[in-house]
């Protein structure tokens, strides 16, 4: 197929302003589009990373002691007994900070005691024996904690008893023991939360921790201990049967608000909601980029529409004359499509039409949607619609054809010349 470059170039040189404006617009739009697509894909991928957790069926309740009668451990045991008895609940467990929510404790773990030069930073969770089921995560190897291994909370007594066992994620296991044999191996921590050393008894296949913006989001260590964060508070993870989350949440929230006057339910939220809040910046960036890119495309479309309008309306009188002399609307449209490329003649229109179509298609490649909207409004009759790219340019061409061109433009002088000219100008010559 031959590309008719020469006539296109000569047409552009004849009147360079329009093509330059269009080229500048399209190049900026394209640059933005390409970058936006890349960034949006990156963000969407990040939000969609598999978490390893049964996010859709979990909600979190945060309970805080409010007076000096509050007994942390007893309150926790009572709450857990209640939660595990609610119908629709698959599992419930206390956790020091809920995963996927942006905030949580981190500690350093080591292969040798006090070897902080080679310490590896990881999320740290205090949980009980039900946490595996409550999170819906899977073990890759080993076992999870047993009920008799769960230690009393820190901070309630003076000395902290170290936990002798720990469960870690595969990601942390790989970083600690690159040879792939972490199960049953010793591990040390930086705060004495574990005995020195503790034994790795289980490895979780995959799970996201709290700090989702950290690049080591999947490094996790769990210790069997009832949680006690910086205040007498606890987060309960409640996992329900599929589809029952919202019903169970309402019932549980209502009950727990009043079940113990010595504490308050600070909040109850689905894990899905908390996760979405953590990714709010990524989501918004994607929304902004998509919105701006769409507006950019629309504006570019309008711009090309406007330029084409200009080119056609300049010749309105000529069109009127030709229409009056018997030219069909389609002839005029074809004329302008051809003329965009070459002004010499329009005899060999089939060939020329193709090349000019290509020029216009290039102009309006991005604008198809808006262009076809504009043209459809005016043009119910049959013109070749296959090359949809032409639409944006075609609409203005048609406007030159329809409208009042036939009559008004043939009149001698524009009736008003800004209220300024009162001369009698000579009658119009033939175009």
């Amino acid at each position: 197929m031959r590309l008719h470059v020469r006539p296109i170039l000569s047409a552009m040189l004849r009147n360079w302003t329009g093509p330059v404006l269009v080229a500048a617009q399209i190049s900026i739009t394209l640059a933005v589009l390409i970058n936006a697509v890349y960034i949006v894909k990156q963000r969407v991928d990040r939000i969609g990373r598999p978490t390893g957790i049964d996010v859709e069926n979990i909600f979190v309740i945060r309970s805080v002691g409010v007076n000096d009668k509050y007994a942390h451990e007893a309150a926790m045991r009572a709450d857990l007994a209640y939660l595990r008895g609610v119908t629709g609940v698959v599992a419930a467990a206390p956790i020091s900070s809920p995963p996927l929510t942006g905030r949580g404790d981190r500690i350093g773990v080591m292969l040798k005691f006090d070897d902080h030069a080679h310490g590896i930073v990881t999320h740290y969770y205090e949980v009980d024996d039900q946490a595996l089921a409550a999170l819906g995560v899977r073990l890759a190897a080993g076992r999870f904690f047993q009920a008799n291994e769960v230690l009393p909370p820190r901070r309630t007594s003076g000395d902290v008893i170290g936990a002798p066992v720990a469960v870690i994620t595969q990601a942390l296991a790989n970083d600690l023991y690159p040879d792939g044999h972490a199960l049953g191996k010793p591990i040390y921590d930086s705060f004495g939360f574990l005995t020195a050393p503790a034994t790795i008894v289980g490895i979780i296949e995959h799970m996201h921790g709290s700090r989702v913006s950290w690049d080591k989001f999947d490094r996790i260590l769990m210790a069997p201990r009832l949680p006690f964060p910086d205040e007498p508070a606890v987060n309960y993870l409640v996992r329900t049967r599929p589809g029952q989350r919202d019903v169970v949440l309402r019932a549980v929230d209502e009950h727990m608000q009043n079940s113990n006057p010595d504490r308050m339910i600070e909040w109850t939220r689905t894990l899905e909601y908390l996760k979405n809040l953590s990714y709010v910046a990524d989501r918004n960036m994607a929304i902004f980029l998509v919105a701006i890119t769409l507006m950019l495309i629309a504006i570019t479309c309008i711009g090309i529409y406007g330029l084409a309008t200009f080119n056609v309306s300049r010749r309105a009188r000529q069109i009127g004359t030709r229409r009056a002399l018997g030219a069909q609307r389609e002839d005029i449209v074809r004329y302008f499509l051809v003329e965009k490329a070459d002004n010499d003649s329009w005899s060999d229109h089939r060939l020329r039409t193709r090349s000019s179509e290509r020029l216009l298609a290039f102009h309006s490649l991005w604008l198809t949607a808006a262009g076809s909207l504009l043209s459809r409004r005016r043009d119910p009759d049959a013109l070749d619609r296959r090359a949809t790219g032409r639409m944006a340019a075609r609409a203005p061409c048609r406007r030159g054809v329809t409208g009042s061109g036939d009559t008004q433009r043939l009149r001698a002088v524009p009736p008003s010349t800004e209220g300024f000219v009162t001369l009698n100008l000579p009658k119009q010559q033939q175009g």
Partner: protein, 445 residues
């Protein structure tokens, strides 16, 4: 003449409502998007206490072990907080005019109208906090340095908390129960919302200030652990405030007010001497990095403005430029369409300059109207941004709490952008039409 040109401009727009609407829309959209991103950017990058930029300094020094920096992502910076040992030493040095030690803790309030207990963020801080950061009081005032050491059972409430507990009445002198202890209210703040929350970036750079303030001594007396960040590296117990106080953990923010260069030099010298002395005792194994950072440096070092925001500003300007290119095209078309009229005007004696000015004024009217419309649009966009970034105050998670309120900066930007729009869009088309040769158009008539 100007009024006549304005009238001509309006008439010309009225004759061509479609094209005018398109141009107006393009300019308004471009300016609206720009003003929105700039307002957000401005809110993020501003210094909320610029008038004290040469007086307020954050103290940091690198107490981390030789093997690794405190923050892997910003390895050139010392930890953002201090150990109790270091903070206490500098606090008692006597060089700064004012000085604060502080951190955030949480407490449960049972008082006033609230029938249910209320969990609030509380700042544990020293007396100078209020005068040093120019915190405005609605009722009463802060506490004295003596109250810090006592510690006296005094509390300062934020405007919002006073509103919730006492309906905004003067509550000074009343007692509230904060985490099982009675505190007497000595002051109520006016609404105060420094953005970014420069004095403590560890609990969210754009979070609201705390709802209440307690004298420093309560930290030890009630063993109030920080709800912000406690950053440790050594193997040592850190479960209570007493343990933290003797540990190498960094958990205290320290700011000082140094009135002049001399005080600054003396403070820096003191830090360096202290650093040398402690190094001999085996601490401070990393290279010396004793910093006195003013607020601007502090916000810049900790990258409060995210790269996303810079990207969006760039994008907004790319968008504006496309909108303006567009308008140039349409305006050019419109002007040249009226070339015969311009030709007649030239023939009747109007100079090129007159034609040029007449059309430039047309472009100016358009840009101004576009800017006004754009300002309205940006207010709508900002409202959208607030919804998109809406945080969940109860869980304290999510976006920005009070970012992106519309301010005079937005209006100033809109005006500036409108001027730019006139220059960019109006000049070339007006020049082109000014150069139109009258003879050609007269002939064709």
């Amino acid at each position: 003449m100007l009024r006549y040109y304005l009238r001509l401009a309006l008439k010309s727009f009225a004759r061509d409502p479609g094209a005018t609407a398109l141009m107006l829309f393009a300019i308004a959209l471009g300016i609206g998007v720009c003003v929105m991103t700039l307002t957000v950017y401005h809110a993020m990058s501003s210094n909320p206490i610029w008038w004290k930029n040469d007086r307020l300094y954050a103290i940091t020094l690198d107490s981390w072990p030789a093997e690794r920096p405190a923050n892997i992502d910003l390895p050139h910076l010392p930890p953002t907080q201090l150990t109790y040992t270091d903070a206490n030493y500098f606090f008692n040095s006597g060089i700064p005019e004012r000085k604060v030690l502080m951190y955030q803790a949480t407490g449960v309030v049972l008082s006033g109208r609230a029938s249910k207990p209320l969990k609030i963020n509380t700042r544990i801080t020293t007396a100078d906090f209020f005068p040093m950061f120019d915190v405005p009081f609605q009722y009463g005032n802060g506490w004295s340095a003596r109250a810090d050491t006592g510690p006296e059972a005094l509390i300062v409430l934020s405007h919002d908390l006073n509103e919730r507990l006492f309906g905004g009445l003067n509550s000074v002198g009343r007692t509230i129960r904060w985490s099982n202890h009675d505190f007497r209210i000595v002051g109520v703040l006016e609404p105060w919302m420094p953005q970014p929350k420069f004095y403590d970036l560890t609990v969210g750079s754009f979070n609201e200030p705390e709802a209440a303030y307690l004298p420093w001594g309560w930290s030890k007396a009630l063993q109030l652990l920080s709800s912000g960040s406690i950053h440790c590296w050594k193997v040592e117990p850190a479960n209570t405030v007493d343990e933290l106080m003797s540990s190498e953990c960094a958990w205290i923010q320290m700011w000082v007010e140094l009135p002049d260069a001399d005080a600054r030099t003396r403070m820096q010298a003191l830090m360096d001497t202290y650093w040398n002395e402690q190094r001999k005792r085996g601490r401070f194994q990393r290279p010396r990095n004793n910093r006195l950072s003013n607020v601007n440096e502090w916000l810049e070092d900790h990258q409060v403005v995210q790269n996303d925001n810079r990207l969006l500003v760039g994008l907004a300007f790319a968008f504006l430029s496309v909108c303006l290119l567009n308008t140039i095209g349409l305006l050019l078309a419109k002007f040249l369409n009226g070339a015969p009229v311009a030709g007649v005007r030239r023939a009747l004696g109007a100079s090129r300059l007159h034609i040029f000015l007449q059309h430039l004024i047309q472009a100016g009217v358009l840009a101004l109207a576009g800017a006004l419309l754009g300002l309205g649009l940006s207010a709508v966009f900002l409202w959208g941004v607030r919804i998109l970034y809406g945080s969940d105050p109860q869980t304290g998670r999510g976006g920005y709490q009070a970012l992106a309120h519309f301010d005079s900066i937005g209006i100033a930007w809109a005006i500036a952008l409108a001027v730019v729009a006139v220059i960019i869009t109006g000049l070339y088309p007006a020049w082109r039409i000014g150069r139109v040769s009258p003879a050609r158009h007269l002939k064709s008539q």
